[in-house]
């Protein structure tokens, strides 16, 4: 039985037994390459679920939609390892109760989809630990290295050109499972910290703020990158910040549901070579 069939069967059992109220998974999209999020709440619909190598979006962001989990019922969700890490972070930041989440774990390597064993988030700690040790290639290593070798002026010019494309549609924010704030800092105007206009300065500020708020929290699922309609390499900045917290604080975001958020904790002997 293929993984798709196994998971459809499991979804059917969970829904008909009332163990979960909804299964969030992937369905067919508007063309052969696309998959779209689907929300299945009756056992008759499980055949709409699709699982193959084109299922890449991280669906964990839907779990923090207003009111979804407030009835304390369980919800099942299809997640790749990055999605599972996202659940850990959301639980660690008290955005959801991990007990309510039933995981249909899977991973894709090449064209092969393999199931990840487990139902609850704590059962995947080995999988996540393995990613910490051997990070999968992102495909942007070359560009990252190129940027690292630039001098500050060149780096500034590079990002200025990239951010100049930004139209402030906030697709990056809306697609990100970690951007769950009811009111984003750019939408707050008392005080207004950064410019809301989409001019060069406003775009620059927005992208710095976004990256900072995701530092040590990003799971590198790539939702922002894929959502950006103007192709800004957003994941690159997040990746650089993830490297930074790993190097400086040995923090790998989303290891467990009790992991302390890196910027809400400290060690007395944290590095401070840069402080005069």
């Amino acid at each position: 039985m293929s993984i798709e069939e196994q998971y459809r069967k499991r979804a059917m059992e969970l829904l008909s037994g009332g163990a979960v109220k909804m299964v969030i998974g992937y369905g067919r999209g508007s063309n052969a390459e696309r998959r779209r999020p689907v929300f299945i709440s009756s056992p008759e619909e499980v055949n709409r679920l699709v699982l193959d190598e084109a299922c890449i979006a991280n669906l964990s962001g839907y779990l923090v939609n207003e009111g979804l989990l407030s009835d304390e019922k369980r919800v099942a969700v299809f997640l790749r390892p990055e999605g599972i890490r996202a659940i850990n972070i959301l639980a660690a930041e008290s955005q959801l109760d991990a007990e309510q989440i039933v995981i249909f774990g899977f991973d894709v390597s090449g064209n092969e989809v393999k199931a990840l064993k487990g139902i609850h988030v704590e059962e995947f700690e080995d999988v996540i630990g393995a990613i910490k040790e051997h990070a999968p290639e992102m495909g942007n290593e070359e560009l990252l290295e190129k940027i690292e070798q630039m001098n500050p002026q060149e780096r500034f010019a590079f990002w200025k050109e990239e951010f100049a494309k930004c139209i402030k549609c906030y697709a990056c924010r809306q697609a990100c499972p970690m951007c769950y704030c009811r009111r984003c800092i750019v939408d707050s105007n008392q005080p207004q910290w950064v410019n809301t206009s989409s001019h060069s300065l406003g775009n620059f500020e927005w992208n710095i703020v976004r990256a900072f708020h995701l530092s040590g929290r990003c799971v590198e699922c790539g939702n922002c990158d894929r959502a950006c309609p103007v192709n800004i390499p957003l994941r690159l900045i997040n990746h650089r910040m993830a490297q930074e917290v790993l190097k400086s604080f040995d923090h790998f975001a989303g290891m467990s549901k009790t992991q302390e958020p890196v910027l809400a904790s400290f060690k007395k002997d944290d590095s401070e070579t840069f402080i005069l």
């Binding site: 999209g29 508007s30 063309n31 696309r34 998959r35 779209r36 999020p37 689907v38 929300f39 979006a57 962001g61 839907y62 050109e161 990239e162 100049a164 494309k165 139209i167 402030k168 549609c169 906030y170 697709a171 924010r173 809306q174 697609a175 939408d187 410019n195 809301t196 206009s197 989409s198 001019h199 406003g202 939702n223 894929r226 959502a227 309609p229 103007v230 192709n231």
Partner: protein, 337 residues
């Protein structure tokens, strides 16, 4: 015999227009994005694109624009109105959906108050449209009762030749004729045949959809919730749409000086309708998506007698969660059968 513009003459045309004081713009690929931008040479154009990522709207209604500057002193408040810089432009190689999108928005920007920012740029621009010979699965102009060679909003229509050596020229407006007078000697009479326009399949029954939307009973249909459940509430559909025109006015500055700006805004954002009291009349994403569809196919046509959609399909093409007008209207077509 028809007038023909051969592609090898295009660079000369660009030169000619530039020396006549026009800014020449068109579809280009720059910094990993496909967009309309000013060019120096014809070689910068990319006519192979089915459609640019960003719409032609950017050239008439920029994402952010200063409206006035103010300074406040003890004894005086000074304001300086800012209008766009004067610039005669020719936009060469627009698509029919983009050009018609501008014509759709003309009555909106001029029905009551005449938006100077919009009309100054409209009056100073010549739109030269190239009929499409290729389409992708998201194109839907035919479903909106338009075509890959619609002339609405265009000043000149070019039809690519079958031998791909140039275009048949059809001058549509006085402004178009004026711009092509500058290059009259570069055009040739010829009998080369035009390539067939792209076949764009009809995807939904527009009249049936509009009738369904106009039925007040359907305003509270559970359909809206189902269709928009996966909407994440970003504005990529509205900001890439050639006809979406909502904006917000923001004051940037402090008590002493600053700028009042006109910025794009989107009905997809929760903040769009949020009241100061905290009440939000469109409190759910489904209400916001419904508004977008209703506005385009119900409210707008009832006032301006045209749908506020030109069928470019960017909303579906670029949606991070694979939603869009096409899918919604297809589902409504099914419901209304």
């Amino acid at each position: 015999m028809t007038k023909i513009l051969f592609s090898d003459k295009l660079d000369k045309c660009v030169e000619r227009w530039k020396s006549a004081g026009l800014t020449v713009m068109g579809p280009v690929q720059r910094a990993n994005i496909k967009t309309y931008a000013a060019v120096e040479h014809a070689s910068e154009f990319d006519f192979g694109l089915i459609l640019t990522d960003r719409s032609i709207k950017d050239l008439f209604f920029p994402q952010t624009e200063p409206m006035l500057r103010y300074t406040i002193k003890k004894d005086a408040i000074n304001t300086d109105e800012c209008l766009p810089p004067r610039e005669q432009r020719i936009i060469f190689g627009a698509r029919a959906c983009d050009a018609s999108g501008m014509a759709i928005d003309d009555p909106l920007f001029g029905w009551d108050y005449k938006d100077e920012y919009w009309f100054q740029r409209r009056n100073e621009s010549v739109i030269v449209t190239i009929a499409c010979t290729n389409a992708d699965e998201f194109c839907m102009c035919t479903s909106l009762k338009m075509a890959p060679d619609s002339t609405k909003g265009s000043d000149v229509l070019l039809r690519p030749l079958e031998n791909s050596k140039g275009w048949q020229v059809e001058e549509l407006t006085e402004r178009g004729r004026e711009a092509f007078k500058t290059i009259a000697d570069l055009l040739q009479e010829g009998s080369d045949t035009a390539a067939p326009v792209a076949a764009v399949a009809e995807k939904f029954d527009l009249d049936a959809c509009v009738a369904w939307l106009q039925n007040p009973e359907n305003f509270d249909s559970k359909f809206w919730k189902e269709i928009s459940m996966r909407c994440i509430g970003c504005a990529s559909c509205t900001y890439l749409c050639p006809t979406c025109h909502c904006f917000d006015i923001q004051d940037e500055g402090d008590t002493y000086s600053g700028i009042r700006r006109k910025n794009w805004d989107s009905c997809s954002f929760a903040l769009f309708t949020l009241h100061t009291s905290g009440h939000n009349p469109r409190s759910t994403q489904s209400a916001r998506w419904r508004q977008r569809i209703m506005h385009k196919f119900n409210y707008f046509p009832s006032k301006f007698n045209a749908n506020s959609c030109s069928g470019c399909g960017r909303c579906s093409r670029e949606c991070p969660v694979d939603m869009g007008i096409t899918e919604t209207l297809q589902e409504i077509s099914k419901l209304s059968q």
